[in-house]
Symmetry: C2
Subunit: 342 residues, 2 copies
């Protein structure tokens, strides 16, 4: 069976509008300024740096994390300066640096539907330009001058690396608990979502409780986002996903769809997962078999349902804020994350 | 001919004492506190992180960069706190992170005479633990709270990455100018030496001119250090070097010994360098041939003489400081860098 058939198992209808596009439109001027900042700050006398960085930055992506910083800052009433723009660029630089290193670590050939930077420029350049962007992000934060922002984003960067290393340690290990998998997700993905949102409150000088609420929103949104990503890796339309369906399967990555199917599996089915995921012995037909087992036990809808729970927590975190177009759009993005095109 | 024979071409006698050991002894208590700080701050709930970090940190090394921070701070009269210890640990973390990434980029199998971290734990873990140590360094700087220190070390980190990328761009390229090679050296090595020393003045609240002088000292010391390293890669006793003689040759790395021999070469000799360095076509006997060509044109002593010039500049940068045991030891280290055991 094809991966597309699994879509019918999705529990929620697609949203009428693209809530992420709506949120991005709300901060359009800020985001254009942020894009200019990103291009300006990638500059280096070493030509390969902006060339490689432009490859991944120009590949587009949704710019979800900087949009969150900008929208959070605006919801918190920030005005009268461009600090939020500069810090949104920092967030995107940190994200881009981790993408470059991730693609090296995962030996990915595709990123957002284009050849990955490591595929075009090699692993070495990708590692080093990632280092450069990471350092440049800290230079921009220093120029901004807020130790609170530096504290939040340096802690996020350490947590991201911890999550990535933990993911490496759980790879091919079917005895990984769901809680441990969620620790990986909190680290590798949700920590930067959380920091991106928290920074918006900090730049607007809001009280600690509001910064914490925005942090919670980002953290839970990030978990939901990653759970959906992990579901889409098995269930998406390849053209929409922008990467190869089944990448996680081939890499033996431990994600909730696999853990769910493994937990629900018969002895023979568990042997299948042990061979393909733990022993990394795979044949051409194994991905279809994996998809069939997931369909049989509802692993994809179960993963999406778990994602919806976290999206609900994200929305609840915004209850303390006055309703305005930014809050409205951030709430809609939480729903959209679970129901995005696939 | 063996590499050891080249030692007779060295222009300067070995120093009577190990000046680096003397400098380290001067800051022994601080350095012990720094080592404790390093171990404490490598901690993470993700066990692989301290395990891999301990592998490279325990491999020892000279701890030259943190010793420079500690000695510079003491020469500048810093007392009454442990900020210099914490910042020396930051410097060592940044250095360790770059070593981890360097070894991945260079595909090195040995580091300081032991199996490199990437050889033991794999490239993936080395990239990610490097990222962790880098982020952790910034967390420690934020805890210290000095934006000046953050500015100096974030700029150094960006410059290091630029130097590394530039080195990648010059690899296998014999048309690289000596000035461009020195740009690589300033970036990949000297920038962190410069920052390590400057931070010592900043933590002691010394005037900008003293910080700049210490920065110059570190920059020129770092250039001298790297030039000697590049000479030793062809001329050292392998047991002392702690890595494989001829690594740079096999990697097609453009260093001053190669540029000197290439510039002095006959047409036939240039063809040898083009085949071995540019086309990366090497046979077993080629390293000995490269060493013979270097000996014939004095490439190693010429490189060491250039290193001695930079060591002289380093020493001159300390003229504004009152003579005391720290200044005395820092001056001696500059000489020692050029005359260290090989």
């Amino acid at each position: 069976m094809g991966a597309a058939n699994l879509l019918t198992a999705s529990p929620a209808p697609a949203p009428p509008d693209d809530a992420l596009a709506a949120l991005t439109a709300l901060v359009r001027d800020d985001m254009e300024a942020c894009n200019r900042e990103i291009v300006a700050r990638m500059a280096s006398p070493v030509a390969l740096i902006p060339r490689l960085a432009a490859h991944i930055v120009a590949a587009g992506g949704k710019r979800l994390r900087p949009v969150l910083t900008l929208a959070a800052a605006r919801m918190c009433g920030y005005s009268g300066g461009a600090r939020h723009v500069q810090l949104a660029a920092c967030v995107e630089f940190i994200h881009t640096a981790t993408l470059l290193h991730d693609d090296v670590v995962d030996e990915s050939q595709l990123r957002r539907g284009l050849a990955s930077a490591n595929a075009v420029f090699g692993n070495k350049a990708s590692v080093l330009v990632g280092d450069f962007l990471f350092a440049r992000a800290f230079q921009l934060m220093v120029a901004d001058g807020s130790l609170d922002v530096l504290r939040i984003l340096s802690a996020a960067a350490a947590t991201i690396a911890e999550g990535e290393v933990l993911q490496l340690a759980t790879q091919n290990d079917l005895s990984t608990s769901v809680e441990r998998y969620l620790d990986v997700v909190r680290g590798k993905t949700a920590a930067l979502f959380a920091a991106a949102c928290e920074v918006g409150a900090v730049v607007a000088n809001r009280p600690a409780a509001e910064a914490a609420a925005l942090r919670d929103y980002g953290l839970n949104l990030g978990i939901a986002f990653q759970l959906v990503d992990d579901a889409l890796d098995y269930a998406a339309d390849q053209a929409v996903l922008g990467k190869t369906v089944g990448d996680d399967f081939r890499e033996g990555k431990i994600t909730l769809p696999v853990l769910t199917a493994y937990a629900a599996g018969s002895r023979g089915e568990r042997a299948f997962w042990q061979r393909t995921i733990e022993a990394s012995e795979q044949t051409e037909a194994d991905l279809d078999q994996a998809l069939a087992l997931m369909t049989a036990c509802g692993a994809i809808p179960a993963t999406l349902a778990r994602a919806a729970e976290f999206a609900g927590l994200a929305k609840a975190s915004l209850s303390r804020f006055t309703d305005d177009p930014f809050r409205h759009a951030l709430l809609a993005v939480a729903d959209f994350t679970v129901n995005r095109p696939r």
